[in-house]
């Protein structure tokens, strides 16, 4: 006999699977359409190309993302600002979070309040003066314009996230180290960092993922074609002349998402834990 509990469970699974399909559909459709010619893409719901009409010809075409450069080139350019950005964010945020979470000192309240306030301030509020600042110090049209800030712990979200995580670590741990004569920096590096590893990885991964999505930053700060990053090159696909085949757009979009997806699935645990940590109880 089917119990009420079983019906409920079945219903819940049905909802979860339906929602999952709804979320996955646009991505599956993108992948399917990258193997299709225009007439097969539109006007139907099918993910798979009609039998005998699948093509892989758009992949080489999409790999050659612009007349002058392949996707590898744009990936490399993206990494050229993303890798320093990840390093800068991780190092500077950890230092700041360590100071705020583990010491009591005059001004700490104000500093913590500032972190929270800047958390609430949208990036765009600072854009024009920072542009002028970069212009005056000659950073425009350099990759540094896209990562220099991150070396100074400006992303309060991550500082906050690490503070929250640190609060869950017993203080006895670093106090013991302190008694053993470790300086603060050594305590941080040798005692806390190993424990903080998951949140540090999360911060790094999120910085990386968000950086992959960064469109406005490169739009404003990088002007030369040899510094064009993937996000802008992808936009070029719809803005520039050749959109003869939508399959090519989908193939390019798919290839652009593959590394992000791959990193996500190998490290999904850190993302999930990180997202939870960021919402920790205040």
């Amino acid at each position: 006999m089917i119990t009420k509990t079983q019906i409920n469970a079945g219903l819940r699974y049905a909802i979860l699977i339906a929602v999952g399909f709804l979320l996955a559909y646009p991505l599956l459709w993108m992948v399917g359409s990258s193997f299709k010619f225009n007439p097969d893409i539109f006007g139907n719901l099918s993910i798979f190309p009609p039998p005998g009409r699948a093509t892989t010809e758009f992949y080489p075409a999409a790999w050659q993302l612009s007349p002058s450069n392949t996707m590898a080139f744009y990936y490399m350019n993206t990494l050229r600002f993303l890798i320093p950005r990840v390093i800068g964010t991780v190092v500077s945020s950890t230092l700041a979070a360590f100071a705020i979470a583990r010491f009591s000192f005059p001004g700490k309240k104000i500093i913590f309040f500032t972190v929270i306030t800047t958390l609430l301030m949208p990036e765009l509020a600072f854009r024009i003066p920072i542009f002028m600042l970069y212009r005056d110090i000659g950073l425009l049209d350099t990759f540094a314009a896209l990562y220099i800030q991150e070396f100074f712990a400006v992303n309060s979200f991550f500082v906050f996230m690490i503070i929250q995580f640190m609060r869950t670590i017993p203080r006895e741990l670093d106090e013991a180290a302190n008694i053993d004569g470790c300086g603060p920096l050594r305590t941080l590096i040798f005692i806390l960092v190993p424990v903080l590893r998951p949140i540090i990885i999360t911060v790094g991964l999120l910085t990386f993922m968000w950086g992959m999505n960064d469109f406005l930053g490169p739009l404003i700060y990088l002007n030369s074609p040899d510094r064009r990053v993937l996000a802008l090159a992808l936009r070029g696909l719809i803005q520039e002349y050749d959109v003869t085949h939508y399959g090519r757009i989908f193939a390019a979009a798919f290839m652009a998402l593959i590394p992000t997806l791959a990193i996500f699935f190998t490290c999904s645990r850190f993302f999930v834990e990180g997202a939870i940590a960021s919402g920790g109880k205040e």
């Binding site: 979860l16 800047t118 002028m132 996500f264």
Partner: protein, 293 residues
């Protein structure tokens, strides 16, 4: 450490990068952006003329485009935010029942949050909602006439709202974590009272997690205020400015029309709007947020 009366020097040293960062990239810009807003400033010619509050006056009384944009922004924020929150909470609620495979769903639902802002997704989204795209194909199955999603003032904001709702995963995870922290003993007490599941939800669960609701609300609100990529690439700010969000308008005036002063004034008004909404949330939170301790 706190036992010692001596003022420690280490935290200040550790905070040196943060002090520089906050000064150079946060405090200085916010002050100088107010300063810019009092000028008619032309960066190419490097000319600037003091105009006092005239930029603000022009914006408020002489520039209907600004109000169109405020309307578009608020529509998006005020419809999108609750939609994301409700979707996220609903799914978190279901996942919170001890079901097998929760972790799998949890991970899978998070994928759109990671991809959502990517230009590649924007390209795909525009086609999903195209006149001939799969969404209209679904409607066709139910005998509904195709909807001009992207070309319609009414529907275009929803194309973006759906894209935002698609990314409910990260918000959902935070809800889920807080739900899992709710002590089962509270429910047991309620079950004895014979409270039904739905009543339980509203009378026990929600009140306990109100701090997390507040946290998520502010987060999602801010994310919506900062939307750029999709509005710029999917609906291209249109039609009729229906998705011409302030964030994009500021970009246009700053970096396309190079009216740095006017754009700075706009930035300050946007900050005021965000500030007002945040204050409303915080003030009202005293009434509806329950802190357990």
């Amino acid at each position: 450490m706190s036992k010692k009366r001596k003022i420690p020097i280490a935290p200040y040293l550790l905070l040196i990068p943060w002090f520089i960062g906050i000064g150079l990239f946060r405090v200085y810009p916010i002050i100088s952006s107010f300063y810019y807003s009092l000028f008619d400033f032309q960066p190419i010619l490097r000319t600037s003329r003091f105009v006092g509050l005239d930029n603000y006056r022009r914006l408020l009384f002489d520039f209907p485009h600004f109000w169109d944009s405020v309307e578009a922004t608020l529509r998006y924020v005020l419809i999108g935010t609750p939609m994301v929150l409700v979707a996220a909470f609903f799914i978190a609620y279901i996942l919170n029942f001890k079901l097998k495979g929760v972790n799998l769903f949890r991970t899978a639902y998070y994928v759109p949050s990671i991809l959502g802002g990517n230009v590649a997704v924007a390209l795909v989204w525009a086609q999903v909602f195209g006149g001939n795209g799969p969404v209209n194909a679904v409607l066709g199955v139910f005998g509904i006439d195709p909807i001009p999603w992207i070309q319609s003032e009414t529907f275009a904001p929803f194309v973006l709202i759906f894209l935002s709702a698609w990314q409910f995963g990260s918000v959902m995870l935070i809800f889920l974590a807080s739900l899992q922290n709710v002590s089962p003993s509270l429910y047991e007490a309620a079950s004895i009272d014979g409270a039904r599941k739905i009543r339980q939800l509203f009378s026990i669960t929600l009140p306990i997690i109100t701090p997390v609701v507040l946290f998520n609300t502010i987060n999602v609100l801010l994310r919506h205020f900062q939307e750029f990529n999709a509005a710029f690439l999917v609906t291209r700010r249109g039609p009729n400015r229906a998705t011409d969000f302030l964030n994009i308008l500021i970009y246009e005036f700053a970096f396309v029309r190079l009216q740095f002063g006017f754009a700075s004034a706009m930035t300050w008004l946007l900050l005021a709007v965000i500030g007002i909404l945040t204050v409303i949330l915080f003030v009202s939170s005293k009434k509806w947020v329950h802190y357990s301790d």
